[in-house]
Every structure is written in C-alpha cells, then in structure tokens.
Symmetry: C2
Subunit: 387 residues, 2 copies
C-alpha cells in the first residue's frame, strides 16, 4: 500500500497537481481475480492459467445494460476509482470523475476496470496480471522473455472474456486514456456488437510509425543494463538503473515544457551547488525525475515494460470496423500521440458515417492532460453517455 | 572520410531528403587548427593546450568587416560548407546555402565555421577539438570525466579568441541551428560590440527546464552501459550500446511524426516476419534507427556526448544584453526547442527595443527543418544580412 501510494504521489507531484482530497465517505472497492485455464494469444501462442485483476463499483442492473469499462494507460492498473481501504493515502487515478454522484455516477452505472496482461506494476500489492514475471506452469520458473508477444487486441480479448463471465452482453461504454484509448478503439473494432460507444482519450486508433520508434527507444535503457541479462533476473537483482531510465523517458514524454518550467525552472538541485561548476552538481528537474523514477521502479518490472512496448507498437485498430459512436478527447500539446493524427482519424471515421465527436483538453501537462484534466470535457462526456 | 560521409548520409536518409547534388565546381575548404596554450573556463578551470578546428571560405576584406561565423549543432562539426577534397561523397551540411553565388555568398562574405570544445565527433578524421577524449598534458592520459565542465559560453569565448587571432573586430553575423543558435544568442549577449546581428535557428536563448530534463535523459543510456566505466574506456571497448541508444533518442527528438510515417510507416523490417509473432521481429523504423545510430556512433565519443549535454543544459544567454538585430528562425513542429518559448523570447527582446524578426519553417522533419529547410527563409536571411 505504501509503495503504491508513493508511486501515485510521485506521479501527481511530478505532474504539478495537488492530490485529490479524500471524500467524506470514500468509495471502497475490492480487487478480484479473473482467471482462464488457458488463453490463446492473437499470435497463436497458448498461455496457461491466465489471471488478471479487476475491480468494480456500482450495481449491475437486472438486464445488465449499465456497465462501463475503464481501460488503463501504459503504467496504470485497474485502480481507476475508490480505495481498497479507507486508510489508503490515495484513491484511484480517476476517483475525481468516477463514483457516487460523480461524472461517471456509480449510483447509475456499474463501472469495471481491469489490469491488463503484462501489467507494468507487477510488484504493486494489488495488481494481478500474467506476463513475463509470472511462473510458467510448464517449467515452474518465470517466463522472462519466453512469454509470448501480446498486443492491445489481446488485452481487449481478455476483457471481453471477463465481461462474458459476468453475463454482460453489451457495455454502455469503454473509456480509457492513452493505452486505455488504444483499447477503447480496439473494442469498437473487434466487438461492435458488445459496446455501445467509446471514449478514447489522448490516443489514436494506433499504427503510428514515430510512436513505434519512440516505444523502442523507451525500452533500450533496460536492454543495455547488464542486470537485465536477456530478461532472466527474477532470482537476482533487477535491472533497476535501466528501468529507471526507461521510466524517466516515459515521464518526460508524457509531460510538456510548461509543466517543467512551472514545477522546476532552471534552479540547481541544491543551493550553492552550481551545475556549471561540477559534473555532479545537478538541476532540480534532474533530481526530481530521478526520485520519481526510483519511486515508480519500486513497483515496476523491466521485462513487463518491454512487453508493453511491443503491445503498444502493435496497436492498430481497424478504423473501417469502428461504427459505434466515438467521443475522441485529446490535447493539442500531446508529445506521445500526434494531435493531428487523432483529428485525421476522427474525420476519416466520420466520413464513413461513424458518429464522431471530439473534445480538446488544455493544461501544462501535455499528454497527461488526458489523465489529469479530463474534467474539462465533463459536459461532453455526460451528454455522450446519456444519449 | 568514408565514416564521415556515411554519418552524413545516414542522417540525410533518415531525414527523408535526397542528398544535395555535387556542384560543377565544388568549393574546397581546408581544415585548420586554432590553439591556445591555456584557456580558463567560465567555471574557472584551466585547460592547457586547447585546440579546436576551423575552416573558412571567401576572402576577408581589407577592413575585415565581411566575416560571418557559422556555429554548429549538437552533433555537428565545423564542416558547414564545401568539401575537403573534390572526391568527398558529401559536402558540408549547409553547402546548399553557403558558397560562391549562394544565399550566403562567399564571393562577398568571409565565412568561418569552427568545431566546438567537447565536439561529439572525436573520431571523425577532420574534427579538431579539446574535450574528455583529449590527453591531459598533466597526466599523459585522456581526461575522461575529469575534463572540466564547459558551457555554450565557453564555446563562444573560444570562438572570440579565434576571431581575435584573425584580427576581426566585428563579425557581420553569427548564424547557427539548434546548439548553434544557442551560441548565436550567447554571442549577442557576451560580445555586443563584436557582432552586428545574429541568426539563431531552431533555438531559444536557453534556460529551458524541460530541455534540461531531456538532455539528462539523452545521456542516461551511456551511463548505464557497463563499458562506460565512469568515463574511463579509452584504452578499452567504448560503450557503444549506450552511445547508440543516446544517439537514437537525439535522432527521434530531432524529427517528427510526419517524417516517420512518410519514411517508414508501420511496415515490418523483413517481409514475412510479423512483429506480432515474435519479440525479435521488428518494425522497419526500429531497424533504420539502429542502423543510423550505428553509423553515427562510429565517429562519436560517449563522454563528449555527456559534456555536450551539460553544456546545453547550462545555456542561458542573458536576454537583457541582447541588443543587436535578431532574425529568429524556427519551426512550429520542433520537439526540442518549444516553439512558443522562441516566440516569447523574441517578443520580450523586441519589447526592450531590440530589432527582432522571426521566420517560420515548415516540413515533415520537426526540429531538423531548421537544418534541412532553412532555404525557405532565404529572402529574409538575404535582406537581414544586407540591411
């Protein structure tokens, strides 16, 4: 709990926002496990004993027509709303949006959120995932890089199996930010009969060459760290330096110039230690990024980051199959998903008759505006869900 | 020569541009060395036997009033124009702009360009620089990370000493892209009496917190590579993997989404090897970035990259001292220098009476539009120089 709280806190502090206040009566959620004895990936590889975690709030109505699925971002988990215990230091990342009488009203909707396969936060106490850090039942040892390649489509297939297990025939909506938005698009393309509408945030439908290149670059520091050892480190010291450098790249690209100027400026990390005088004298932003990476690395797994890189590189929802209404929310200062390509995809889908709306978010946090500032689009989201 | 040509070629191929055609009569330039027995850095550290390379074209007029200084970018060298020999595969990076009867007409101007201190391309045959790879005269061994910290201001001080040695009292202009633009701003702030006007391209005057963070991230893969060994690798294998990962980050951030989509798309590197099927099956852009990094790494030095990181982090020309006319050229799709901060700095300087003009470049290459597409601002540059 403490580690998880520290991670969320580090992210929020880095994002330059204050932490959401605790509500008088916190929404308490319970982490559950969904398991399949066997799952076959899109690439055709079998995974035995597949398990993912999930949590929900609200009540599923009699005809099971009020369910909304929240899909998480690259470094996220199922913990989008509520707390696991009243004593938790922080709530889920969208607790400001999701809960009783909130924008996504759990008095009205049954809101589900699940951990993906190959989830990054393997060491977070409440995360349940199957990935390279899992024990391969055939060998009794962690898979490491022998785990099969999985894609966003696999994440969505597993979510569909979870929904099926709950007897839900059709979701009211799928909503998610960044990698969560990739999943929302993939839901619309793969299961048009099982989702009424999607709200992809700070994401395109996928298939972006520049992002494919960047994702590869995000993973490179891990592969350079000798402790990575080709992915076999689970009985040794993990490649922490590489993992931290990877997480720093992700933190930076998810942010933006304005955030850095506002939060840190060009001040030295320590008064009197001029960065111009010695190599070891650093700037405030360098030390803050290191501290955030150290905090994030505590719950993260290096191989899982590499599998997420691959899954995101493979994202490419078939636009021609997206026919359900789309509310695409984005931010013009996004450094991860190219804003014009989000607009272009929206226009192309609209041109083939798909009902598409867009909304723009502003703020100093670049890509992360799509996690931190979604409230700006509250009216559009509310109307879109009630339509 | 072959290595250098390969590097430039890789950069141009990656940039998605065809190579400049050879001119009927190539401009031939000669690499010279400027040396000082001792140079004291801005930080107060002495460097003995300081040497940098430089080259020039055109003829210095009688009153030495027709000199223009070209300052180079992060991974650049003094080789901005001409060839060292007619048989060279490629010419200097701005050979299309600089030469007889060209935009910067060497029939009219005496155009000088010098290698910076801590130049990245230590292993390129024509580069002359003093930095961590140089032999410390006191120990007879390479400095490594014991070389003193240097800044953009040091680069400019050394250039001033070079200009002084040529008897030039006042430069007609200083023009440079990216790190070259930082040097142009520093020239205006440090030596207002010795420069008539500046043309900083794709650069702000410095002092950008986000860029300070990114620069640190660029250097991290080198420090993670065990072959880096705290900077002492000159008698061993260099940290090539770390250096390549660093260079890939720089290549990506100097480019932009449109370039990647146009040059590579989402095609697999090898037909029939679906990246969704196996971890080793890669995308075309990943393999191209690796090949470019391998080519660039051949002439580059890892410690020098870290010193350049520091020098750029320290860039912060005093805007209040910039009084000479400024033509600031930038590109709205720049991912390294925040375009609004270039505009803001221009407006702030103009508000204090400094004559400031701006020009925008377009193109698919993001930051690199400022190297590859400067011709778009030819009319403004010509008028600005002739004013």
């Amino acid at each position: 709990m403490i580690r998880r709280a520290f991670f969320v806190l580090a992210l929020l502090v880095l994002a330059g926002v204050s932490q959401p206040r605790a509500h008088a009566a916190d929404l308490i959620v319970e982490k559950k496990t969904f398991a399949l004895p066997s799952y076959t990936t899109v690439g055709g590889a079998p995974i035995k004993n597949m398990r993912i975690g999930w949590e929900a709030a609200g009540t599923l109505n009699a005809d099971k027509s009020n369910a909304i699925l929240i899909t998480h971002f690259f470094s996220g988990t199922s913990h989008a709303f509520g707390k696991y215990a009243a004593s938790d230091a922080t709530a889920g990342y969208w607790d400001g949006l999701i809960g009783p009488s909130k924008l996504i009203d759990t008095d009205k909707y049954y809101v589900i959120s699940s951990d993906t396969l190959v989830n990054l936060n393997v060491k977070a106490p409440n995360v349940v995932t199957t990935g390279p850090a899992s024990i391969d039942p055939d060998t009794g040892k962690p898979y490491g890089m022998r785990f099969p390649v999985v894609s966003i489509r696999d994440f969505v297939r597993v979510q569909k199996a979870l929904i099926d297990s709950l007897g839900i025939k059709k979701l009211k909506a799928v909503m998610g930010a960044s990698m969560g938005g990739l999943q929302a698009y993939e839901w619309a393309a793969s299961y048009p009969e099982a989702v009424e509408r999607i709200i992809p945030i700070i994401a395109s439908p996928g298939g972006d060459a520049f992002l494919i290149g960047w994702l590869d670059a995000w993973g490179q520091p891990i592969r350079i760290d000798p402790k990575w050892n080709g992915g076999d480190y689970y009985d040794k010291e993990p490649p922490l330096d590489g993992l931290k450098a990877s997480l720093t790249l992700i933190t930076l690209q998810a942010q933006q110039w304005e955030w850095a100027a506002k939060a840190f400026g060009t001040a030295p990390a320590e008064a009197g230690k001029d960065p111009g005088k010695a190599f070891g004298n650093r700037f405030k932003i360098e030390v803050a990024l290191d501290a955030a990476a150290t905090a994030r690395a505590k719950t993260s797994d290096a191989n899982s980051l590499l599998y997420l890189v691959k899954a995101n590189q493979l994202a490419d929802a078939d636009r021609s199959k997206i026919k359900v209404p789309v509310l695409a929310i984005y931010t013009p200062t996004d450094l991860i998903f190219y804003p014009p390509s989000i607009e272009t995809a929206a226009k192309a889908m609209a041109a083939t008759g798909t009902p598409v709306e867009t909304a723009q978010l502003t703020g100093p946090n670049g890509h992360l505006n799509g996690v931190l500032a979604v409230g700006q689009a509250a009216d559009k989201i509310k109307a879109f869900l009630e339509r």
